[in-house]
């Protein structure tokens, strides 16, 4: 099983990874296999009769995490979503009927509908690069070195095993192949009095 490492604490949100992915895979406007989310918000803190703001802002670069229990694969009625011999989850376009159910069940928004071919598409972890011993294009393009890629065991031994930060779901749901270094502000996003917003920046469209 493969895993991505995401160092959210150094990610500047430049979206080079997103652009590299689009370029490598020739993705059409509206389809972003890798996406950078801009998470921001804040709350108030009351101390000695005065209120001070507690803002937070950080970025999160997200793609298909090649989950251990992929909901998309289980839910797909046609078996179009399959795991290849290298453990990479892919879509067979000879089978996909474009029902978009995988889009509903994936908590990471990985399967994306292509209105031109009328079928689902998803990140293939740059399997051609992997077979050549290289890393996916998003990882190598990151100017901040916020991304890394390897086998799950390799990533765990290098970076630990944290896989959750707001707004990502509980990792026990799908067992994502992802190790995360959270931004120091991310703890504030889940504080009870905080208002948190996140959006996917789609300025490239």
């Amino acid at each position: 099983m493969y895993a991505f490492y995401i160092n959210s604490s150094v990610c500047s949100g430049c979206k080079t990874c997103q652009s590299a992915c689009k370029d490598k895979n020739d993705l059409k406007p509206g389809i972003n296999w890798r996406r950078v989310y801009d998470i921001q918000g804040g709350g108030y803190k009351s101390e000695n009769g005065t209120f001070t703001t507690v803002p937070f802002a950080y970025n999160l670069s997200v793609s298909c995490f090649n989950c251990e229990n992929p909901r998309c694969m289980t839910a797909c009625p046609t078996k179009a979503i399959y795991e290849n011999e290298n453990g990479i989850i892919l879509i067979d376009h000879d089978l996909c009927m474009g029902c978009r159910y995988c889009e509903w069940v994936c908590p990471y928004g990985a399967p994306q509908y292509d209105p031109e071919i009328k079928m689902m598409t998803k990140c293939n972890l740059c399997e051609d690069y992997i077979s050549e011993g290289k890393k996916p294009s998003c990882v190598d393009s990151c100017p901040m070195r916020a991304l890394d890629f390897g086998t799950a065991n390799e990533m765990k031994s290098k970076y630990g095993s944290v896989a959750q930060v707001f707004p990502l779901p509980d990792p026990s749901v799908t067992g994502p192949g992802m190790i995360l270094k959270a931004h120091k502000d991310s703890i504030r996003a889940t504080a009870s009095n905080a208002v948190a917003n996140f959006r996917e920046d789609q300025q490239d469209e």
Binding site: Y37, Y101, E200
Partner: protein, 265 residues
């Protein structure tokens, strides 16, 4: 959310209506074993039910990007509820059509219980699969008791109303218990909307008010049936009752799809 969910609204409601009608048809046959149900009335009922099932199957194709690949839809029966739903619907359609072909034969009366058991099992399996399809852990607004209660209510309410419309001339329609059942299902459907879907805002509120008006209209029609036996025989009132009920359930399902809210990204 896939914007093209209107076909799913019609697909789910029409499927559930046909399944509910089949269930009530079977139950009536069990209750009134000695009654003389003519081949003609049975044929009309089954024709109408099969028509609904085929229309719903056709509608299901409208939300597919590649309908030509739909032949693969039953590939994942071991894991996918969507595959199981499609298989149940296909079996139900084949079975209803097969029974329609056999109904004129002399031994069709003996086959009626077999037909009822198979249609009941596949019908229940169809509705159960539908419920499981929409109980998605990452869609918090659907992953609760509202979904199963709503789907079961639609099956029973629309199914019974459709069955009564098809048999409005027979004694079943005059049966007070059938009308009381419709009232109970309307009440359950209404309570389910209010209890599980706490807040209604904007366009949802307008749709919800329209749904209440339609359900109230349906209740008034049933009340008139209680008051006058003559009105019971008026097909226009039965059609109006069915239209009001099905429109209210279509609105309810539309609100259900609008409530799509995904946790995660």
């Amino acid at each position: 959310m896939n914007e093209n969910f209107t076909s799913l609204v019609f697909f789910t409601i029409l499927c559930q209506t046909a399944t509910g009608a089949l269930i009530f048809r079977g139950l009536t046959l069990l209750r009134e074993q000695n009654s003389t149900v003519t081949f003609e009335s049975a044929k009309i009922s089954l024709l109408a039910i099969s028509f609904l099932l085929i229309i719903s199957l056709v509608l299901a194709f409208f939300h597919l990007g590649k309908p030509v690949h739909a032949v693969n839809a039953v590939n994942n029966l071991s894991k996918s509820w969507l595959s199981r739903e499609i298989l149940s619907l296909s079996i139900l359609i084949i079975f209803v059509l097969a029974f329609l072909l056999l109904i004129n034969r002399s031994n069709s009366n003996r086959m009626e219980p077999v037909f009822f058991v198979v249609s009941l099992i596949t019908g229940i399996s169809l509705v159960y699969s539908m419920i499981r399809i929409y109980m998605i852990p990452v869609i918090s607004s659907w992953n609760g008791p509202f979904t199963p209660v709503s789907f079961i209510c639609s099956t029973l309410l629309c199914g019974l109303t459709f069955f009564l419309l098809l048999n409005y001339r027979s004694s079943t329609s005059l049966n007070t218990s059938s009308l009381i059942l419709v009232m109970i299902f309307i009440l359950f459907s209404f309570i389910n909307s209010v209890v599980f879907k706490g807040s209604f805002t904007g366009s949802n509120l307008c749709l919800f008010i329209l749904r209440i008006i339609l359900l109230s209209g349906a209740t008034i029609i049933i009340a008139t049936f209680f008051l006058s036996v003559r009105l019971n025989k008026m097909i226009s009132l039965w059609v109006l009752l069915f239209v009001m009920v099905i429109c209210s359930e279509l609105i309810n399902r539309y609100i259900f799809f609008l409530s799509f809210e995904k946790s995660g990204l």
